[in-house]
Amino acid sequence: MSNLFDLLVAGLATGAIYALVAVGFTLLWQTSQTINFAQGEFVMLPAFLMLAAMHAGAPFWLAIILGILMSMILLGLAFKVLLVDPMMRHGVLPLAIATMALAIGIKEAVKQFFSAEASPFPSIVPTGDIAILGHAVSLQSIGVLVVAILAVFGLTTLLNRTSLGHQMQAAAQNPTVARIIGVPVERMILLTFLINAFLVALASLLITPIYLAKFSSGEVLGQAAFIAAIVGGFNQVRGAIAGGLLIGVLDNLAAAYVSTQYRAAVPMIFLIAVILLRPQGLLGRAEERTV
């Protein structure tokens, strides 16, 4: 029983990070029909930007700020202007393939300019335990969960409670009508790209102390977040959150109770089941789109 509790906590902490990345997936899809296959690499890169800042002499807190800002410039603004905008007019598929190429490019660049070896990365949460319901739970797990929940809460508040959020939703749901009623659609789309860049930088900050900073660490994350987004519902932020948490827990339970070798297969099987039985995702809504 104690084992199950530990597994749930660890799974939720990892799942919360998947959720952050999956939310970014869904935001980009909703506003610009971008399926970003480089999303995993987007999580890997900010950690290296922060490390580079630290190597240049910046203290950790400043490196975090610089890393997040650099991510928003590179993975938000530059990604949209240099890759998405020119490719978008050719359709969803060429853009998706371009993001795959981008993923390879980012990985190789990090390998080339940084190192092929893993590097340690400091944690924003101190090590240590805290007792919850008689169980010792690591502060790191709690910290990851709290930061991820705050980020998601902040995002949903922005989307649902502010005029800016309503404009973003309008731009996502029907750009033509949104334009007619005066919503600056282009600016709203850019804002989603910046929010995605912020979320992946945050995910990077939370996951890298555990996974280590390595050029290839985005592969696992990108895949998990992609599955989470589809399972939860690609067109719903809350779906992506639920999908992320579910995949995190499922992965840990599968490793513990099914088999370590087949742990990666269990979320996949779950994904296939969802696609067959509920194609719009667990919390998604059915929609038709011309692609």
Binding site: S2, N3, D6, L7, A10, G11, T14, K111, S115, A116, E117, A118, S119, P120, T127, D129, A136, S138, Q140, S141, P209, I210, Y211, L212, K214, S216, S217, V220, D251, N252, L253, A254, A255, A256, T260, Q261, R263
Partner: protein
């Protein structure tokens, strides 16, 4: 006619005195990227350092050493292709790879070409297939694992042991020997966990270890995964003593795992913290050249080149075909060849006999707790 003869005589004189002697070509195939990048980079740097030293002192039998490095990408398939390519260039000796899985698929190629292969792999089975051209730079698992099991049983007094291993040739080989030895000695294996190479998340595995509540945990993973599991063991508050091999307490693991590595123990065939003067000198030279402290793979690469030097000088000629025969049964003394760092004997299967060390990580540093002597 006279002038032609003169030129001919001059050319003969020049080539026989060695003023224009061809360099001795070595080929290295190592894990320069992928999961084994730490292994391969250290190995490569060790090789380069040794070659630089040897060439600065006039080379081997008056000939310079040259090496070509190829990247196996930590992938046995790529390693095989790279080794085939390297062998096509007819090197004097083949160096690497470091991963046992890659050695396993490349060793038949080198043997077929009749080229000696000096490698970093530690899986027990590598030298048990009757290959006459394969040589280790470190202990095979059949030599090290019984020492590990004995330490867990006798010194740690562990009656129950959790074993976490990586599911590849290296991990499986070590796991098989250590589990057999532990059971023979009377220590019960209460958790037997296979993990995947490149695995990022160890929460579930450590959860199982915690649930089994063992007296000791034996961890046998590659370096990066070792660092991740050490962090997770600390995160979940597992307090049982940790025992492993070089891969658990290597410099890179300590750097990556930070505080979580403290207290971990390991049997180490080679360590740059060994209380041996020649090794300390090596460590300083390496750190000066590359700005970091090498792990045992740096030592292995360095030793591989000095094995080439000592064997060639023993033969008194550069003879690729006779190389393997000469190295079998050869004892190289550090007093005669300081680059070999410690006295070493190579047996008929290419395995080595050398003193080894029992190391504990104390405040981020490897501290040698015991020196285990050469067997023979």
């Amino acid at each position: 006619m006279k002038s032609t003869l003169l030129v001919g005589a001059l050319l003969t004189a020049i080539t026989t005195t060695g003023a224009f002697a061809q360099a001795i070509k070595l080929a290295d195939v190592a894990e320069l990227s992928g999961g084994g990048a730490t292994v391969g980079t250290n190995w490569k740097n060790g090789i380069d350092l040794a070659i630089e030293e040897i060439n600065a002192k006039g080379g081997v039998l008056g000939r310079k050493l040259e090496v070509s490095h190829a990247d196996s990408q930590s992938n046995p398939g790529v390693a095989r292709a790279q080794v085939q390519k390297a062998l096509d260039a007819e090197p004097y000796v083949l160096l690497g790879p470091g991963y046992s899985g890659s050695v396993k698929v490349t060793a038949p190629l080198a043997a077929e070409a009749g080229i000696a292969q000096i490698m970093g792999g530690e899986a027990a089975e590598l030298t048990q297939a009757g290959n006459k051209f394969l040589f280790r730079t470190s202990f095979g698992q059949q030599s090290s694992m019984p020492k590990v099991a004995k330490y867990i049983h006798d010194d740690m007094k562990a009656k129950s042991v959790a074993v976490a291993w990586v599911n590849n040739d290296f991990g499986r080989g070590g796991r098989d020997v250590v589990v057999k030895e532990l059971e023979r000695l009377g220590s019960k294996v209460v958790a037997d966990l296979s993990t995947e190479a490149g695995q990022a998340d160890f929460a579930a595995d450590v959860g199982k270890i915690k649930a089994a509540n063992p007296d000791a945990v034996f961890v046998y993973l590659n370096e990066e995964e070792s660092a991740r599991i050490l962090k997770e063991l600390k995160r979940q508050g597992v307090t049982a003593p940790l025992m492993g091999e070089t891969t658990l307490i290597g410099q890179k693991v300590i750097e990556l795992a930070g505080d979580a590595a403290n207290g971990a123990r390991g049997h180490v065939g080679l360590t740059t913290d060994a209380p041996v003067d020649l090794i300390k000198t090596f460590r300083d030279k390496f750190a000066k050249k590359y700005n970091y402290v090498p792990d045992h793979n740096g030592l292995k690469g360095y030793l591989a080149v000095y094995m080439v030097k000592a064997t060639t000088e023993k033969m008194g000629k550069v003879d690729s075909k006779a190389f393997a025969d000469t190295l079998h049964g050869l004892t190289i003394k550090a007093a005669d060849e300081p680059g070999i760092l410690m006295d070493v004997t190579f047996n008929e299967t290419g395995d080595i006999d050398r003193q080894s060390f029992l190391v504990e990580v104390v405040e981020g540093k490897q501290v040698v707790k015991q020196v285990l002597p050469k067997v023979k």
